[in-house]
Amino acid sequence: MPTSDSEDFESADEGHGSPVKKERKKRLSSSNYSDNALETDQKSHNTQNLTNSLNKSVEKEGTDGWDDFEIDENEPVSLNVPPSATKVEKKDTKVTNEETMIKESKKSQDTGWDDFDDWGDDEYCSNIQKTEPHKTQSHSLQPDPDIKAVTDRLAAASTGGSSAGWGWGWSVDSLLSTATAGFTNITSQVSQGISTVLETSIGAPDPEELARRNIKEREDESKTSKEESLTPKEVPENKEKDNGEAFQFGSLLSGVTKFVETTSTKVISGGLDTLETIGKKTMAVLEDGDPGLAKKRALLGLGTGDKPVLSQVLREAKAKADEEDKIKEEKREAKEVHYENLFDDFEGLVHLEALEMLSKQVSMRIEERLSGVASEKRQDMKETLQQVAELCEMPEEDDDDEEPPSEDMSKPDVLHERLQTATQDLGLKLQFQPLVKQYKEVLDYVTSDSEATVKAIYKRAVSGLAQATALSVEQYHKAAEMLLVKTRRSTADEADALTQMTVVLTKHISELATLFTEKLNSLPADNKAQTNNYITNIFLEAGNSSTYIQNAFQLALPILQIGAV
């Protein structure tokens, strides 16, 4: 019965856990996932196999479910001897709850759980048993009647003393194990004389004297030093536990262990000296002609190049990242005050480019028309084209024709009105609001009391000029597009309107430049040269802006011209 049981138990153990849960889950949720047919099918197939085998094993037992498995677990445990039971228990910890574990441990011990004294004795006895083989081994190696007598007495005393109580039992136990270990060492190396000393000096052996007497022999026996070195570890423990209650043994053992301690220290220190000497010599040989062992390290692949230190790598990575950030920041900074890039960012460049595309295409169309007509008519056409071009020439700078703006109008509104007046004969609905809005923002900026650095104002000036120019260029592009789809053209009016618009826009650019330079001049100058440099640049960029605007106007010329031919 036990074999078949454990077999069932094994298969159940493999099978039940998750598959049962999965199967249950599947059954519960299968309706929800019915649309995931393919995947679920495959899964259920697998699960089916598992559950089939599971069901078989379950059927054999004639029961199913979790509760039965728990019973199964307990069965082999109670049948087996305690040690193997513990093994099984460990294997199945995941499925056993605490209660079962307690139950099992109760079963594995014939006496009760809370019977501390008895339990302690059990442990203690097993320790004695463990130490016994040691003892016999040492006897067989060197059958010394005296030592045997001593140890026998010790063993007898400890066994008898077990009834004395809890603390005492522990102390004797550890003393005894220490002592036995000690004896093993002693018997293997020490001559008859020592045992005599041991015998006679129960109560107060002189460890110093013992050491002195046997120092030569011990030093010769280097092979045992390893064995001895283990002993000192136990010594302090032994000392602590030795509370003197164990009548004469205490002093005897402390004497023995102290002797062992001293000896081993000497042996160890002697050994270390030797090792040090050997090590130094070795290094000297290795380093001969290779200072710092650089070559040999490299040869062994221990060089710093092959095996870089982590902190070093991290430091380098950080330095590299910092450098990259710095470069990026510099680039960003450079671009921030770079007029052309700003102009591009405000879509000025692309409007200019699109306008250029239109201009070229229209120019080609004009050329086609010219070549397509008779020579005398061609001359007329050329004259017309020339007239339109002349209409689009910029008037001489004279500011007498300009009406002074009325007092109750804001500067942006004045700009808006001027632009609308200029373009009213164009016959198009151009959107000037962005330009007006931007003008307003610039005015707000330069009239605000907020503390701004010279550099910040300069940056704002370049950006403001680039934006105003981009918005202006956009007007030419839009005007050109709308003119091309306009059904009824009046070229002369259109040319005049665009010329007027150009005048207003270039004046607007000058106004913006003046606003920014005045703002710069109003600041207390820490660095007059730098400020003047910025002011010069602003006027240069303003000139640049005017050039862009006039170029845009010139690009629009063929669009005006084609309406006349």
């Binding site: 990026k328 671009k335 921030e336 890039n341 960012d345 405000f346 699109a354 595309m357 597009e481 789809v485």
Partner: protein, 222 residues
């Protein structure tokens, strides 16, 4: 204003019938906003945004939003030439806008020659599908037939909504990644006199061929 640092600039053009939603698509892509009402585009408008392709290369997309109106057709033709990618835009609730797609594609191919642009077929207003709203919109172009057309012509296909933002990003990233992949394979090059691809402020000395070839993005539709 866009972040100034980028590695490449790609010029993409949006074409398609008027009122299919080209400007709204771009507005959402660059601004994250949807405008219920907007004026018809005059000629061409411009949008820009920087995105990153799979290896982290920063691409500035310069987007040319063309007018769909018939009267601007002669003008918009002039704008095709320097485009490296073209988004063929239709309205999923407007059958004729889809039926005009082959014409738009032919037009683009003809004007962009000798360059071969990356095309994407972009269905708009997917949010109107399945909603019983007052405008009475219902799907007139199935996703399957659009995808079939796309496959036949070697285009990417995606259905979007500028109202909910669905697939808007994907539509542009799709094209940008494909253009970038073609740069990596050497099919596209930065050329003087052609503004389809330009190097950015970040890399003034031409292309970096050490960059690893990126994987193609899979279209997410249907």
């Amino acid at each position: 204003m866009v972040d100034p640092i980028f590695d490449y600039q790609f010029r993409l053009i949006l074409i398609g019938d008027s009122t299919v939603g080209k400007s709204s698509l771009l507005k959402y892509f660059t601004d994250g906003k949807f405008a219920e009402l907007s004026d018809p585009t005059v000629g061409v408008d411009f949008f820009a945004r920087i995105i990153e392709v799979q290896d982290g290369t920063r691409i500035k997309l310069q987007l040319w939003d063309t007018a769909g109106q018939e009267r601007f057709r002669s003008i918009t033709k002039s704008y095709y030439r320097n485009s490296v990618g073209a988004l063929l835009v239709y309205d999923v609730c407007n059958r004729s806008s889809f039926e005009h797609i082959p014409l738009w594609m032919m037009e683009a191919k003809r004007h962009i020659e000798p360059h071969r642009p990356v095309f994407a077929l972009v269905g708009c207003k997917i949010d109107l599908v399945g909603t019983d709203n007052k405008s009475g919109a219902r799907r007139e172009v199935s996703c399957e037939e659009a995808r079939m057309f796309a496959e036949e012509n070697g285009l990417h296909h995606v259905e979007t909504s500028a109202k909910t933002g669905l697939n808007v990003e994907e539509a542009f990233v799709l094209v940008a990644q494909e253009v970038y992949n073609r740069i990596q394979t050497g099919e596209y090059k930065v050329e003087n006199g052609w503004d389809g691809i330009k190097t950015g402020f970040n890399r003034p000395n031409g292309m970096d061929f050490n960059l690893l070839e990126a994987e193609t993005v899979q279209s997410t539709c249907c």
